[in-house]
Symmetry: C2
């Protein structure tokens, strides 16, 4: 199904869930049929022992039950459709399971909560066999391990054509540590984790090679030196490290958002919810040299890619100025701007000191 | 889109969410586009004020936040794909929203929990306009009102062809009242709410008329006298009344399951989880006269339809014999059999006193 990487681009041991290896190496090539689906779900569920004390009922009943013990429960639900949200021409199924899980967990993390459970529904067409479902689930469980969450809900069903995956990530948060998008105040600092536009650049490379492949199906793409960009697109990581390190440094952000559609959308989500404005500094937007150079080769303005490219799944949050010294102790965080009064609007100060209004993909601006 | 019922089969006032009427009567005919989706979600969310104290963050942030205050949180997630789970030829969109919500809530109710929130994701193709999204959501909110749950999560995205809807229903339960499928004991009574095979019979009528319609697009079907069967298929009700009445009568079922794929699957789900066997009595299976007569006309064995038809969304539960007098006080509940030792297997005693093994759709039997 994936023509570029029959198995995996990344070394298997980095995320392969070995628990599946016996089943995966003995593929039944059996189409996923609805008769027998309960046996199949029960069989698959044996591979997902639960570990969290809050997981009371996992797979195999009518619903999932969570006992949060005084914490708030945070839930994020997503639906992903083939050829809209992913392209199996270049997306290995195991990466797909990992990435979709990361996306769902990112929304939980963006409330400053700790992921605890994941519920997965997969609707497959008759192009799929059992081995392919295993591949997706091996990516899902690898991501669950990364964030210490239990796979605590699994359903399989059919789809006429496109693969459809729905994910519901559940997490827990002490009420006093919950961070919504509301709460940013004037003069607070706008921080982000990681670097930007790498995933978008990886996607551009993959799409370019897909076109080459479509004309010449024998061609194998050469991505040498671009591993980081591909990894950001094919295997984004849930930033649980940031949530844990903020806690360690006793920093409570005033607002937080998942950066899924570029920096511009995220900062405007925080500003709109908080009734504030903001200014970001072009020179402060974190980007790797590889991303910068590759975008230049592709003739794409790198700042536009960072602001609007998307697929980063990094965290954006605002902190009080008093936390300025402490935030330096948290690795992989950059301060990229500050919050202003609402009437100031949303702006970027460019490298040559020009102020331009921010444009966000997900918003129709007034 | 729905050729049979351009608007609604059932009287509008019975479930039309009037809050939408202004928007629905002034259709923009605007395709649902991704640019502007956040404005659209924010606009739609204004129609869903939240009412439950446990709903801390509803729509408009990265995730939904629930504060269950000592209760367990019950979550059920489903994905529904057009032409697999529903056919828009005869399914009005408002009914669709209602039915899919009922299905999601049914899994929460089947844990003996009270629904509190619903998260909805809709992926639409360019066949859809804003008015059609409103129609779906008006059905969703009407069902939320039925069970006193908040619509507390909404995302819109695109699909290449088929309409895709994912639903995550959330509920709360005192830990001592939680009912899983495990826990049924020998000699306990098997109870069900409502009656069976009506939805399946309604589906058969709709499918039959669809074939007539495909040959002769001018034909309008005549369903006179069959309203109940169509309503069971097109607008099944979440059985929150049963949960509430069991509580009122101080009956705590020992096991419970959602009857979504017929009585045979449900009773086997309880028996397998509880490591027990069972016997059901054909003469005790509740069915309306209308269902019985219509199935006879269609030349379908009525017991097979009740055991394997599906789409009933009734509750099955087991109770101790000591609760026999109290269960009679709960309306719309029938006792249909009892639990036996595991080695007895799963059987039906027919009207002429013959014991036949139960066959379930969702299981491959040994």
């Amino acid at each position: 199904m994936c023509h570029f990487f029959p198995y995996c681009l990344l070394p298997e041991k980095s995320y392969l869930c070995r628990k599946f290896s016996n089943m995966a190496e003995n593929p039944s090539q059996e189409p996923v049929k609805m008769p027998g689906k309960y046996e199949l779900i029960a069989e698959l569920s044996k591979f997902f022992p639960t570990e969290n004390a809050s997981t009371i009922v996992a797979t195999g009943d009518d619903a999932t039950v969570v006992e949060p013990d005084g914490n708030q429960v945070v839930a994020a639900s997503k639906v992903f459709v083939e050829n809209v949200h992913f392209d199996l021409t270049y997306f290995p199924l195991r990466h797909l399971g990992y990435k979709l899980s990361t996306i769902a967990f990112s929304d939980v993390l963006a409330m400053n909560a700790s992921p605890s459970q994941l519920m997965v529904n997969i609707a497959v067409s008759d192009r799929f066999d059992l081995k392919m479902v295993h591949e997706i689930l091996s990516g899902v469980t690898a991501c669950c391990e990364t964030v210490h969450a239990d796979l605590a809900g699994l359903d399989l069903t059919t789809s006429p054509r496109e693969l459809v995956v729905s994910m519901t990530a559940i997490g827990e948060c002490e009420p006093a540590r919950l961070c919504t998008r509301k709460g940013a105040a004037e003069n607070e600092l706008v921080c982000v984790s990681g670097d930007f536009a790498a995933a978008y650049t990886g996607l551009l490379l993959l799409e370019r090679e897909k076109k080459v492949f479509e004309k010449n199906p024998g061609a194998q793409p050469d991505f040498s030196g671009k591993d980081y960009l591909l990894r950001r697109e094919l295997k984004p990581e849930p930033r649980i490290d940031i949530i844990e390190n903020l806690r360690r440094e006793d920093i409570l952000p005033t607002a937080m958002a998942n950066v899924s559609e570029g920096l511009a959308t995220a900062v405007m989500q925080i500003c709109k919810a908080s009734h504030k404005g903001c200014v970001l500094f072009e020179e402060k937007l974190p980007m790797t040299e590889l991303t910068f150079v590759t975008l230049k080769d592709l003739d794409i303005v790198h700042t536009v890619a960072a602001l609007n490219g998307g697929d980063d799944y990094e965290l954006m949050f605002t902190i009080k100025q008093a936390d300025f010294e402490n935030i330096k102790k948290v690795e992989n965080v950059s301060i990229i701007g500050y919050i202003k009064e609402e009437s100031a609007g949303y702006h970027l100060i460019t490298g040559d000191n020009v102020q331009v209004p921010l444009q966000a993909q997900g918003f129709r601006l007034p």
